[in-house]
């Protein structure tokens, strides 16, 4: 390895070294605040190092990893989301009994897995990142091992995520059998030279799509989503909805753009069917939900449907719209899960919609943040969600994907109903029910950051769109 290799790996190395150092600190002096502070500083350092390595780009490390502006941008999204989740985890895990410091170690390994996916350019790194992410998530989900729901959610995720990685792996193996190469570029070259795709290759891509579909919670591979979202601790649910999906989305977009999958007619039909199915399944199942975490789980299925639809344009415009949509969805959904985690106490999660009754009159600030998040999910103007939906629909209409745009509009209307229902509950006046936990400074900072991000993306998105235009050129 050369010096440039090491330099461009700096962000990943920081994320790798941080958990080791945390383990050492824990073995010397176990104190929650110190570990938390160190984790925050490490993530910030990793984020800053992205700007330092930028002049070295684009850089490839053998065939395994590629550092270009696209992967750097995704690393930025992943670190930023992980940073917000970490801020929101502080209060949630502080009150737990037993060992809590290890949570941050696992959070780092999971983030490392997602980052590996963002730089992957070869099946080996793809597989390693995918597995590192899944295995860390089993632990994160079942972190409160004495409780029923987290344990059950952990087992469910363990079984289903392992099956998904078995599918992914078998798909990779078949593609390797057919083409004799595992690097993304090699696969793209081999496919462009080949006339008719062999059955082995088609089955291979199909099985890879099953694995990716599981991870992105696309229908019909969505069965685990709401159970795991409900059972996992609220910050971890937020993590699954953002960082985990961000990493998989990064490698999904890169791989299928490299092999020009989106211009393949059969692949187009399959993805359209999955996307439309995901939208309807997610939104229809969410309508009658009484549990906010489950509701957000179902809405994430629908949102991933909106997101992959726009990739079907098959050029840079589609990828840019998808990435903008993803970023605004991430900020928004972290806000919603953040409110849940800040309102949860040691013994119970604030997840039932009736828990939020009259929240506006008791805790106006938290209620405003949740309202903002839900409005953004529904796509109301002045929020990030509106600009994102507008951008996606604009690009869709420009490329003539009318059926897809039409189903997206229908689904946005369905979505509006159940988001507004939660907001209505928050503003209704009700009798005093449960005692709400007090809000710490760290929680306040996180909520402020999230609401500012939602508003900035909604009111003044130009700079970010310009930035995505510049960075994302596949």
């Amino acid at each position: 390895m050369t010096e440039t290799d090491f330099l461009s790996l700096t962000p990943l190395l920081i994320i790798t070294i941080a958990p080791v150092v945390i383990m050492l600190i824990i073995s010397i002096y176990r104190k929650y605040e110190i570990i938390f502070g160190f984790s925050l500083v490490s993530l910030l350092t990793a984020f800053v190092s992205l700007f330092i390595v930028q002049p070295l780009l684009p850089h490839r490390i053998d065939h395994l990893m590629v550092f270009d502006l696209y992967s750097l941008f995704f690393l930025g999204i992943i670190f930023f989301s992980a940073f917000l989740i970490m801020l929101l985890s502080h209060d949630y895990f502080k009150h737990l009994e037993g060992f809590r410091e290890e949570y941050f170690i696992i959070l780092f390994t999971a983030t490392l897995g997602a980052s590996l996916l963002a730089v992957a350019n070869h099946f080996i790194i793809f597989f390693l990142g995918f597995e590192l992410l899944s295995i860390s998530l089993y632990i994160l989900i079942a972190f409160q091992k004495k409780k029923d729901y987290p344990l059950e959610a952990g087992i469910k995720y363990l079984i289903l995520a392992s099956v998904s990685s078995a599918f992914l792996l078998f798909g990779m193996a078949l593609i390797y059998t057919a083409l004799g190469t595992m690097g993304f570029q090699g696969i793209a070259d081999a496919i462009s030279k080949m006339g008719v795709a062999s059955p082995i290759l088609v089955i291979g891509f199909g099985m890879m799509m099953v694995g990716i579909g599981f991870k992105l919670a696309l229908a019909p591979f969505h069965m685990w989503t709401s159970d795991v979202y409900q059972g996992a601790p609220a910050p971890v649910s937020g993590y699954i909805a953002t960082v985990s999906k961000g990493g998989v989305m990064a490698v999904f977009i890169r791989f299928f753009f490299d092999i020009k999958g989106f211009s393949n007619q059969d692949f187009f039909i399959v993805i359209s069917a999955i996307a439309i199915f995901s939208m309807f399944v997610g939104n229809l199942l969410a309508i009658r939900q009484q549990n906010l975490k489950r509701l957000l789980g179902y809405s994430s299925i629908a949102n991933m449907g909106y997101l992959i639809i726009i990739l079907l344009i098959g050029n840079n415009d589609g990828a840019r719209a998808a990435i903008f949509y993803m970023l605004s969805y991430f900020v928004t959904v972290i806000g919603a899960f953040g409110v849940i985690s800040l309102l949860s106490t040691k013994n119970r999660e604030a997840e039932k919609i009736e828990d939020f009754k009259g929240l506006f009159w008791k805790r106006p600030w938290i209620a405003i943040v949740l309202t903002l998040s839900l409005l953004s999910l529904a796509g109301i103007p002045l929020t990030a969600g509106f600009i994102a939906k507008f951008y996606v629909i604009f690009e869709g209409v420009k490329s003539g994907l009318m059926l897809l745009v039409f189903s997206m509009i229908i689904n946005s209307v369905i979505g509006l109903y159940y988001y507004i229902r939660v907001i209505a509950v928050m503003f209704s006046t009700g009798e005093e029910t449960t005692k709400l936990p007090s809000l710490s400074i760290i929680g306040n900072v996180a909520l402020t950051m999230i609401s500012i991000s939602i508003l900035i993306l909604g009111v003044y998105p130009g700079w970010l769109i310009d930035m995505i235009m510049k960075l994302v050129a596949l």
Partner: protein, 104 residues
């Protein structure tokens, strides 16, 4: 030296994969489900080795070593979780521990 043709190896690995999948769907005991997943992962490893020999590259075997390592990690985490489940519920039947569902 007698060599097994690639087609036979692929068929064999595919059968193993389907056996694992069937076992996963039929079995209700978490340990057996984990074993079925191991079979699925190993069948993928077999395809990698067969393809590596077919193309005359070491890549397939390298990938298999990664699969072995990752599967070991996965099983160790899985068994730790299963221990917790057994402590908690005194059963390993997945239907008995399934409480998360809509409308409760």
């Amino acid at each position: 030296m007698l060599t097994v043709p690639l087609k036979i190896l692929l068929l064999f690995a595919g059968t193993l994969f389907l056996l694992g999948l069937a076992g996963l769907l039929v079995r209700r005991n978490i340990i057996f489900m984990l074993m079925s997943i191991e079979i699925m992962l190993n069948s993928a490893g077999l395809v990698f080795i067969a393809a590596g020999r077919h193309w005359g590259q070491p890549d397939g075997q390298v990938m298999f070593i990664f699969i072995l390592a990752v599967a070991a990690v996965e099983v160790s985490i899985g068994l730790a979780l299963i221990l917790q489940v057994y402590h908690h519920y005194k059963t390993l039947d997945v239907d008995a521990i399934s409480k998360l569902r809509d409308h409760n």
